[in-house]
């Protein structure tokens, strides 16, 4: 694989994670369990959409075919999306949303901490800004896992179910493929496998405070980074991309 292609893919992966999760969180707007949570989720969505704009613009510039962030967001199909499977999972109930957020944002923060030192200055610059935002996402989500886990019998059961739904997508966060290896060696990216102990530690501490058991180990479901997604992503894209697809000549 050429270094250029790997670097483009790397920026797309970072951008698509943020875009897809931001899109999912936007679905909550106006429907959250309480106003403060509504604002919190919208705030996280907004941060993520902002990050997606930067990473996708960078990917488009590296590619050099005149595709900007919007072209990449609104004119690619499922097979070309590079996000991890975790972020495209449906919102479900609030516990499922929070499970997804806690697992992802904890990983995301560790990633961005490392990426601040990326040899790709554009990636480093986005990471430096985004890491502060994501630190808030992670603490918001982990605090809610604790509240729900150590709340009522119902909230506890829902939290257990939410984690159970999401847990099969955790391993993918740390998996290293050829793109990741090339980028880690070039100093652009991160050896994600090295993040796992710290992630485990943070998640275990959260689970302990929430009085929850760690979900049982299971075979990880993978493929998002290569464009092999769940059935959910296509529906999300058909909604998200509707205007750009229906009116391809329009400028908005």
């Amino acid at each position: 694989m050429s270094g250029d292609r790997a670097r483009i893919d790397y920026a797309l992966r970072l951008g698509d994670d943020a875009l897809v999760l931001g899109q999912r969180l936007g679905e909550w707007c106006g429907h959250a369990p309480m106003l403060e949570v509504d604002l919190g989720l919208a705030n996280i969505a907004l941060d993520l959409i902002g990050q997606a704009q930067h990473f996708l613009a960078h990917a488009g510039a590296l590619e050099g075919h005149g595709r900007d962030a919007d072209k990449l967001a609104f004119r690619r199909d499922v097979l070309d999306f590079k996000n991890c499977l975790l972020v495209e999972q449906p919102n479900g109930d609030f516990a499922q949303t929070i499970a997804r957020q806690a697992l992802f944002s904890t990983w995301h923060e560790l990633m961005l901490q490392r990426l601040q030192g990326s040899s790709d200055t554009a990636i480093a610059a986005v990471a430096q800004k985004a890491v502060k935002e994501v630190a808030y996402h992670a603490s918001f989500a982990r605090e809610w896992v604790v509240r729900l886990g150590d709340g009522t019998a119902e909230s506890r059961q829902r939290m257990v179910d939410g984690l159970d739904w999401m847990w099969r997508f955790v391993d993918e966060l740390f998996a290293m493929d050829l793109v990741d290896q090339a980028m880690a060696e070039a100093g652009v990216g991160v050896d994600k496998s090295t993040l796992r102990p710290e992630w485990d530690h943070l998640i275990d501490a959260m689970l302990a405070e929430a009085t929850l058991e760690r979900p049982a180990p299971r075979r990880g479901v993978m493929g998002g980074r290569e464009g092999r997604h769940s059935e959910h992503l296509g529906h999300m894209l058909s909604e998200m991309q509707f205007l750009q697809r229906a009116y391809p000549d329009a400028v908005w």
Binding site: L35, I49, Q53
Partner: protein, 331 residues
């Protein structure tokens, strides 16, 4: 966004109930208000003033919250990442406005839960405008341009309203609303100068939102029985018709500037009055919408009630967890 004070029916002045309040206190209160002083939560105030304020501020707060829904309807389909981010930020602002308006109303002794309960039971009203559907992306432009434009007309004077917490909330709200109005107009501008399909959407959105926007200012002055009292109390600073006229005069040239046509055959400039004459508003429609018979009123209330009911277990969990924490800290 703003709701003018709404009642269930066209105004029938209520019978004056003899006040049992201390005339000296009442006189002192009226004098302070007349001198444009702010009334603060701990100050003495007439019961009717308190009730009117709770009704008006809570209606305003409910309008912000229900108003998140028609725009929220397009967050997932916004056409570019920038438009999506701006819309998310805007809807988030509306939620924030709701939050500090509820807080302002709570200083008058009514809890947020009571106000929310009144909304869900249909006892409390919210702006009629949010009972209309958002069908195309141009509606998001029209809401920002017209609805937030109307809101600004209503709210700017309220920065000097007599109740301190409400006035201060309005200062924050107004700053954000003028940004919303500009971004809405910018969406309309882009569409009005876009493809024929976009232009059609823009004109159609103006056609559908124009009259409901004029209704946002509330019934005509002759049918607005509380206006005089509210103006005397400085809860209101201009009449409905004055604000409506101002809105028309500001908005018509904006429509012309981007090549859109205001859907009113009677609209014309009146040199003598220095303003536009415009056609008769369909007040039957307005009162029907106030009664809860707007085109998507049922959808709006169902969305709010579902969110509240579906989130009950979350709120209970948060309380239960806080209680456990406190108990552990005390042990």
């Amino acid at each position: 966004m703003y709701t003018t004070e709404l009642q269930n029916q066209a105004g029938k002045p209520k019978a004056q109930v003899a006040s049992t309040e201390d005339p000296a206190l009442l006189e002192a209160f009226e004098a302070r208000v007349a001198a444009d002083e702010f009334i603060e939560p701990k100050d003495w105030m007439p019961e009717a003033y308190r009730r009117t304020l709770v009704r008006q501020i809570s209606q305003h707060a409910h309008s912000e919250i229900v108003g998140m829904l028609p725009e929220g309807n397009w967050i997932s389909r916004a056409p570019t990442l920038r438009r999506k981010a701006v819309l998310l930020a805007k809807v988030q602002d509306e939620g924030g406005h709701g939050l500090y308006l509820y807080a302002a109303a709570e200083t008058l002794g009514t809890s947020r839960d009571e106000m929310v309960e009144a909304l869900h039971s249909g006892k409390a009203k919210y702006s009629t405008i949010f009972n209309y559907p958002t069908l195309t992306w141009a509606d998001i432009g029209a809401i920002g341009w017209l609805v937030d434009g109307a809101a600004i007309m209503n709210q700017v004077p309220l920065q000097r309203t007599s109740y301190g917490p409400y006035a201060r909330a309005m200062v924050r709200v107004c700053k954000e609303e003028s940004f919303h109005q500009r971004q809405g107009y910018e969406i309309m501008m882009a569409m009005a100068s876009g493809t024929p399909e976009q232009k059609r959407m823009a004109q159609d959105a103006l056609n559908r939102w124009w009259w409901p926007s004029l209704m946002m200012f509330g019934p005509p002055d002759e049918n607005s029985p509380n206006t005089a009292q509210s103006m005397r109390w400085r809860i209101k600073r201009d009449t409905n018709d004055e604000l409506r006229q101002k809105f028309v005069d500001v908005t018509v040239p904006q429509a012309e500037a981007i090549g859109l046509t205001v859907p009113d055959p009677d609209l014309k400039w009146n040199e003598a009055k220095g303003g536009h004459d415009f056609g008769e508003i369909d007040w039957e429609e307005f009162y029907a919408v106030v009664r809860g018979e707007g085109p998507v009123a049922k959808e709006r209330m169902k969305a709010r009630i579902d969110a509240w009911n579906d989130g009950a277990w979350v709120r209970e969990a948060a309380l239960a967890h806080a209680a456990k924490r406190n108990a552990r800290a005390a042990a």
